[in-house]
């Protein structure tokens, strides 16, 4: 019997109570928000629990919401239960001034580079990561390029001399 979203929700609520919020099911995938200090406890609980068995970290990345003061950076985890073939997603929010989130590398080897990528582009500081350095950008870079305050070049700008490029 496939694992239903309601069952997952009930089990998580039993364990963590009111700490988990914003339950949604966009396009069928159970999504919730958790306090950032609980992220490892939730991952471990989802991993260990015989009924839930979310033991595959599909994806880990961040999103920047500059208008959401105090919780600008969202770190999003996508987990997959390969036995029952159910996916869930959960988010933790961090303050951009102090973006400390616990690292999942002890539980998932695959989190290593995914967290490095997230650090590289958003500056999320993963506490407990064995080697938190930039992975895709150059090491000398002193900003986090995927944050929203760094826009792409405006295509309609006129102050630039593009004669050489035939635009």
């Amino acid at each position: 019997m496939a694992l239903a979203n309601d069952t997952i929700k009930t089990r998580l609520t039993q364990k963590f109570g009111e700490a988990l919020s914003q339950w949604e099911e966009p396009y069928g995938m159970l999504t919730f928000t958790a306090p950032k200090d609980l992220n490892l406890k939730i991952l471990q609980f989802l991993f260990d629990e015989e009924e839930l068995r979310f033991r595959f970290l599909t994806d880990l990345q961040a999103v920047h919401y500059p208008n959401d003061k105090g919780r600008e950076l969202a770190v999003v985890y996508h987990l997959h239960n390969l036995v029952d073939n159910v996916r869930i997603r959960f988010k933790v929010f961090a303050d951009i001034e102090k973006p400390d989130v616990f690292s999942a590398t002890a539980l998932y080897q695959s989190a290593n580079w995914m967290e490095r990528e997230t650090f590289d582009f958003f500056g999320v500081n993963f506490i407990g990561h064995p080697n938190l350095i930039r992975v895709l950008n150059v090491e000398e870079m002193d900003y986090f390029p995927m944050r929203k305050q760094y826009p792409l070049e405006d295509q309609s700008r006129v102050d630039k001399d593009d004669d050489m490029f035939g635009r």
Partner: protein, 413 residues
Amino acid sequence: MTDKTTDHIALPEGSIEKKTNTLNLGPTHPATHGVFQNVLEMDGERIISATSTVGYIHRAFEKIAERRPLYQIQPLTDRLNYCSSPLNNIGWQLTCEKLLGIKTPKRVDYLRVIIMELARISDHLICNSIVGVDSGAYTGFLYVMQYREMIYEIYEEVCGARLTTNIGRIGGFERNFTPKAWKRLEDFLDEKTGYPAQLREFENLFTRNRIFMDRTIGCGPISAERALNYGFTGPNLRAAGVDYDVRVHTPYSSYQDFDFTIPVGTTGDCYDRFLVRNQEMWQSLHILKQAYKKIQEFKGAEAEVYHADSPEFYLPDKKDVYTKMEALIYHFKIIMGETEMPKGEVYNSIEGANGELGYYLISDGGRTPYRLHFRRPCFIYYQAYPELIKGGMLSDAVITMSSLNLIAGELDA
């Protein structure tokens, strides 16, 4: 150095010399097939540790995508895994369709399956024949190369391009398959003169070849548990014995209508990965035949359908643009990227040629994605490379890298 593995090397008392050598393999090295750098710590010819450096061809696709309407992101996906661009293209279209709620007709699904399976074959045949090249057997590579050419000619007939295809559109294909395209597909599938015969020949050259077996068996192995922990997907995970395939677990594009099996290996070494890929090519050929048969069963108006009815996102016919007001408006809005998309977040994945290729798309109701993330399978499983090659020979490291099917474009996004 206090590393136990080098204790057998005796250096004179008080020597400050290292017991190991540092070897820089890459970023441009003939044996790495792409821009990969590995700094290896070597004891003679044995690898003690490795550090991978990636990012040499990082092009910030995720950032660029935040300024582009959906249809303009598709050419970016071409450049992820460029050995099988149509898979990336169609994966992206399926993601957009999921967000926009577009339902595609069955015929479109089957046409897509044909293109996707051709792409899978073209990717696997390159990977497997390169494993052959790296183990010293160049012939197989030359044998199968002309069949990739045949696949590229089919792409060419469908969309006009060969490598970075930008094939299809949100909702379907930009034009129907021509009779020439079907002819080429028939030629490709022909049992006697087409790819099946060649693949059999290729297998004869390699599968029970003593030299090839000695070179690949036990080379770069990984257990199922480690593979899952490292986030392996695709043929590399299946070679380790886990039968996870997105086509079966979460069928998309009507894969549930097809009959095929998932080949699995046991040890997860280079040889198993090779066998799994070969077997997958046979399964792909099997799917292609079924899809071709199903396509021929469509009669009347249904047999001409090649796109969904979604005027807001699918470009209207050119003659309608010139004669109909509504079509002109849609044409303008699509080209200028002025169509708002619904608010929402969607994760959609397909079985790419080297693993689960995922697209995580967040829309805030604007014209461009708020955030787009590509789950690139190679980026995730390349982390395991130092563990796979540790303790092995340098030449094993080369063959392990090619059998993992790493594509630099996908790795660095």
